[in-house]
């Protein structure tokens, strides 16, 4: 009699582990293949039976990737655009997010929340055409500043969303206590609220950085001259017009392009998942 439930439970456990294994394999195999391809010498890449582990692993693909395309320069372009976008985004978003958190019933907060929701829904193409025309008018097409401006506005909805969540978590009583002690509004903001918000601001900045670093569509439309292009655009140059690619260098360059966002994302991953959507729905 007792064996029944135990056997069933054991079967269920086995099923669960099989499902977990399936998930891990599905997640991991394309990544492992990318890594494997990046370290394969040309002879093994051309082989009809490619293996998982290179017989003669090589770094040649990385060297060749730098020779074929201006990787370093494009990484520099990406770095500048992403850094500038991240810094500007949090500098202008933090005060507004603070107001949204403290006066969340005001018309402005409601309008901002509405804008955040709507901006998630509209297709980029509807915005990029007019932006393209306007930026062309003011000669900011094919310019770094133009791209940075677009990235800032593109990261703003999510940044406001995240930062307002963090600002709500700062206890109002602390601010009121400081105000009672005679500190002015700006003083309270700078010496009481800001320090408590810092972890949230850093997480938001990193997120904005990653978003810009990975971005492709706006860069594709706005940047024409090769020496200004960002890394995702340069990666597509490894794939020729006929769709034929030099697989080794392509894989190597792709790995390099992924590393920065991967490292930063690992740092803030927990904050993003637990702090944003879940928190937002709970409120």
């Amino acid at each position: 009699m007792r064996r029944g439930p135990t056997a069933r439970r054991r079967a269920a456990r086995t099923g669960q582990y099989l499902a977990l294994l399936g998930y891990l394999v599905f997640l991991a195999f394309p990544l492992l293949w990318l890594v494997s391809t990046a370290f394969k010498p040309p002879r093994e890449l051309a082989s009809l039976h490619p293996g998982w582990i290179p017989d003669h692993p090589t770094l040649d693909n990385f060297r060749q990737a730098f020779e074929e395309q201006p990787l370093l320069r494009s990484a520099g372009n990406s770095l500048i655009a992403s850094l500038a976008a991240a810094v500007i985004t949090v500098v202008i978003a933090t005060p507004m997010a603070y107001v949204m958190a403290r006066h969340h019933r005001s018309a402005l907060s409601r309008a901002a929340t509405g804008w955040i929701v709507v901006s998630q829904a509209f297709p980029f193409v509807l915005v990029i055409i007019p932006l393209f025309l306007v930026l062309k008018e003011v000669r900011l097409i094919d310019s770094r500043s133009g791209l940075i401006m677009v990235y800032v506005v593109w990261s703003l909805p999510f940044a406001l969303w995240m930062l307002a969540g963090y600002a709500r978590a700062v206890p109002r009583e602390l601010e009121e206590a400081a105000a009672v002690d005679g500190a002015g509004r700006l003083r309270v903001l700078i010496s009481v609220t800001m320090p408590l918000l810092t972890p949230g601001i850093v997480a938001t900045a990193l997120f904005a950085f990653i978003t810009a670093w990975n971005e492709f569509f706006f860069a594709l439309v706005l940047l024409k001259s090769p020496r200004k292009q960002t890394m995702p655009i340069i990666l597509t140059h490894f794939i020729g017009t006929e769709g034929v690619a030099d697989l080794g260098p392509l894989a190597a360059a792709s790995l390099l392009a992924t590393l920065p966002s991967l490292v930063l994302f690992a740092l803030i991953q927990r904050r993003i998942t637990s702090g944003t959507l879940a928190g937002a729905v709970k409120h």
């Binding site: 599905f26 506005v153 492709f216 966002s261 959507l277 729905v281």
Partner: protein
Amino acid sequence: MTRRQGTAQGAWFLVLPALIPILLLSVGPLLYGIALAFTDSQAGRTDPTQWIGLLNFQDLLRDTLFWESFRIGLVWAVAVSVPQFLLALGLALLLHQDLRFRWLSRALAIVPWAMPEVVVGIMWRLVYHPDAGVLNETLGTHRDWLGSLSTALPAVVVVGIWARLPQVTVTLLAGLSNVPRELHEAAAMDGAGAWRRFRTVTWPAIRPIALAISALSFIWNVNSFALVYVLTGGGPGGRTRLPMLFAYEEAFRYGQFGYAAAMGCVLVAVVSILLAVHLVARLKGDDEA
């Protein structure tokens, strides 16, 4: 009274740095984009752009290529979002259990999430590669998965599911942490089976977050661009030409700004209607609760 005014003025001062760029670079272009849909705006035009009323929309109605792309876009969004959500829900319930190696799935989940979409596309091109790809090697086939008419769209859909599966899973997992354990145990004591417990305890608790993430992922998929642009460029024979790729080509290859803007408007309208339906479903659910 004076204190309230002070607050309001201070608030405006704090809001302006973000509000000005939002108005100039987001709300403005959005309205301008809608206006463009009613004009004959083109690249490199010498004579002034003119209002042409609904002509672009009339042309769109007759454009079989657009409807084909629209159909592909809907098929793609549904074929990615629905299995992705169901898989993610199953995985979230699974990872909520006390399993060994659970940490590994969290660690791995970061990767698709943080990867540039372009790299995800490139990576899967390597997997699907006719000669050097791992898929053919494993299956013992010799197919051009991305290049043949019958397999291109399914192949791209798999990549779409892969790309955001962890994101949806982890979000649902965050929702599961809200489920009151006592309620679950009480239901189990009353003899409720797994399905009944899910329906009466788990689902009501995660419903808001499930609706939110499913709506978001659907919108993301409707607006997909980079992934498919890198994987197939819309080919073969337009089989994977999602609406965004179509509109991009129309605007920036053929310079038809007005026409492409009209396409954008149609997409916005469709997404808004779907969102409204979704929202109504959510509100109704809240009433019942």
